[in-house]
Chain length 469, copies 2
């Protein structure tokens, strides 16, 4: 009895809805220690679901400092089949402020094509469409094992910043070996605009401190005759950008991979509503590097932002001092091929160059930084992904997008040293990390169909070509 | 039996030392409510001392929200004699950190020419030399009443910022009417360099707030595409001064009374040790408006200083946000003839000019500001003061200096609307407001002698000429 991926998905939607209803009731909030038992229950629930789907190997990894992660593996009966590692996470964001929710965050509620619950979009819904997709893949191809060897790594700490993910990856390095990585934790531009993320920015972050006089001084008795570290740190911040919004750190743009004409053309096709962007950001104006669109600024250009600034007296009223100290917390979002180590050196040079006589500066880094993650267009892995998504969306062109933030993807890619692509069907208005999170069910079905098709396409491309991406 | 002012002072030094020893034991710390009984005892002690000296009218003014002040009046038997109002204060600074004191702050200790105790220099010693000086004046002139009508107003809240002094002045306006004011709460350059303060700076202070997005935004997802209020407030601060250290507020220097050539020559004669200044300020470099010496920058030039700056995340570690808000606390020290109201308007214009699109700015002022207090050189009152000091210092030239801070003097001058001069004998190393405060006894004797001589000189000048200063 032959079926298509689409038909199978359409006929088994209720299975997905039933599973979602169960899983979304488990409040696995990794950021809240009192919910860590729920995080474990959440992992166990998904492990059972994977076993039910047919995965021969399913393990809950609780053998490290991390919260329970799930590893599931289903080897293809073709010994030469590519090995695909799917990344997702099963933990969810906190739900505060609870009073802003219109429904109970852990009582999944269906409203037409929308399913509301914490984790519906980020990331339980997106992980579960894979189970349905895999069954559709088997049914449509008539196989008893997938066309590719599938490994799932489902993290339990992503919403807490993946503090132990690199350690987990190192511990289980051999089990996670693969030819290509599929990340399932992102979104598309709109229901009728299929797209795939092709980049996430990297980051380095530092606190720059300026020390002036060894004590706070009376600004009347001494003001106007000695350097003021708060004024000087402000001058350093002001010098960070030129009038064109370009970051003035020496060598900052040297290794930036410029957007190709093709990429810019494709970026320009992404529907972008500036009014909507201002509404989402509750902002009053756009601002950024001249010569680039908002989407390009967010995804494809590196930035320098002040995350915090402080110094002197900041309480009520006034204390007329020349402060002894001031500091600024800076973060730099990086794009391919910027090297965090090079940027760190450049920032230190910038600070040295902008430390005036009489001021002692100090730079303290948050770790060693994270590289950007970039998916080049036109590689075999990208083309297979793009083709599978396009087929699920009736042949529509798949647009590449980029995300401005930094997730565990760069670390994952570095650990397995393989190409990575993004298959995600969230939507911009899913309210992830916010009250009233929802997922659009028809997007989940599209995701299941695209996943089912993707395994066939990956098998056709073959392991070696995928790796070479 | 005829004597000279100097001989009388020399012969009655022990009286001064005895009085000081008593009064300095009373810990009248106005900033500490638990010491307010001591502030009252301190006022009562001085009132008694004034009565012993012969003042016919002595009142402790406790009839307002202020801590007790002392008013003492001794009318000259010459009905045309000038009326002189002497200002000083009897409260003292807190003594923390106590562990840094080498002797008990309220156990006066004599060590050669030095007397150590809290308040020895600021301001009990300087007020008490007046009582000895007045007796010397009477003895040397053979008078039974002073050559001028003397009124003393001795405040009890100066070390707490004189919060009720204007109200006290308004309440007792008629009692305080005078022809000239003598402020006794300042110092000289060095024991062998007699000098007099000829200016104190005024001030306006404000908090400037910048509001960007209505909520803190993720600096990865949104950074690089919207204005960052912390970056923008830093740019405003950086724009406050040009490369020459000149304040860029519109019209800032329009009303600044430039130093005359005479004043600059006299300023240049004041011994000034930059190494010592860096030591006192625990600083590593000098900085200020180009074209002016440190002394000129501190006393005769207006400034803009950042007293505090804040915005975004300032705790440990990092929170990668584009903050919603940032602010800077600014104070501007003013010199004659800058009008606080004009400067306030200029700063508001500057803020408007430096508020970029997408940022909402707000300026909140601390009150309406304080004008600078300036003593013009060469007036009858100044010449009389300078002559009296010079005579006490064996004919040495008296140098004019200026203080950078702002005290209650401008308010006092405005309330009585009369010229004001400064007779003070503190020294730069007196450690006022710090542990181990001391006064140099020989300076107190010089002060007593100068005061004794001053009343005679003022009488010779006459009321009308003094007022016209």
């Amino acid at each position: 009895m032959v079926t298509t991926e689409r038909d199978y998905v359409a006929e088994h939607r209720d299975d997905l809805l039933h599973d979602l209803d169960q899983w979304l009731r488990i409040p696995g909030i990794s950021a809240q220690p009192e919910r860590h038992d729920d995080v474990r229950r959440s992992a166990e629930w998904f492990a059972d679901a994977a076993r039910r789907t047919g995965f021969p190997t399913v393990e809950v990894w609780g053998d490290g400092p991390w919260l329970p992660a799930v590893f599931a593996e289903w080897r293809s009966d073709d010994p030469d089949a590519p090995v695909v590692l799917v990344y997702a996470h099963h933990d969810v964001q906190p739900v505060d402020p609870l009073e802003l929710w219109h429904t109970d965050p852990f009582e999944p509620t269906i409203d037409g094509d929308l399913l509301r619950a914490r984790g519906a979009s980020d990331d339980k819904g997106q992980l579960l469409f894979h189970l349905l997709g895999l069954q559709a893949h088997l049914a449509a191809t008539g196989r008893t094992s997938p066309a590719v060897t599938l490994k799932f790594i489902v993290e339990g700490e992503e919403e807490s910043g993946s503090p132990h993910f690199e350690e987990l990856l190192a511990t289980h390095r051999e089990r996670l070996a693969c030819d290509v990585v599929v990340v399932t934790d992102t979104g598309m531009v709109a229901p009728d605009v299929p797209s795939t993320v092709t980049g996430m920015r990297g980051m380095v972050a530092a606190t720059v401190s300026f020390h002036g006089p060894d004590l706070d001084l009376h600004s009347g008795v001494f003001g106007g005759a000695i350097p003021n570290p708060a004024t000087e740190i402000a001058r350093l911040v002001a010098a960070l950008h030129d009038d064109q919004g370009r970051v003035q750190v020496p060598g900052f743009y040297d290794d930036v991979l410029d957007l190709t004409d093709t990429e810019r053309d494709l970026f320009a096709k992404v529907p972008s509503d500036e009014g909507e962007f201002l509404k989402v950001t509750k902002s009053r104006a756009l601002r950024g590097e001249h010569g680039f669109s908002t989407l390009e600024r967010l995804g494809a250009r590196p930035t320098a932002e002040v995350n915090g600034i402080g110094g002197g007296y900041i309480g009520a009223g006034h204390k007329t001092i020349v402060p002894s100290d001031a500091f600024v917390k800076l973060s730099f979002r990086l794009v391919a091929d910027q090297d965090p180590a090079t940027i760190i050196k450049g920032v230190e040079q910038f600070v040295t160059d902008h430390t005036p006589e009489g001021i002692v500066s100090h730079v303290e880094w948050e770790g060693s930084g994270v590289r950007a993650c970039l998916v080049p267009l036109g590689t075999p892995a990208y083309n297979a992904l793009s083709g599978a998504i396009s087929e699920a969306f009736d042949g529509a062109q798949v647009l590449p997008t980029r995300e401005g933030g930094s997730g565990p993807e760069a670390g994952l890619q570095a650990a397995v040293d393989r190409p990575l692509v993004f298959l995600g069907v969230g939507l911009p208005d899913d309210q992830i990390h916010a009250p009233n999170e929802k997922v659009t069910l028809s997007m989940l079905y599209k995701g299941a169909e695209a996943a089912a098709l993707l395994w066939t396409r990956f098998a056709e491309v073959g392991a070696e070509a995928l790796r070479s991406s």
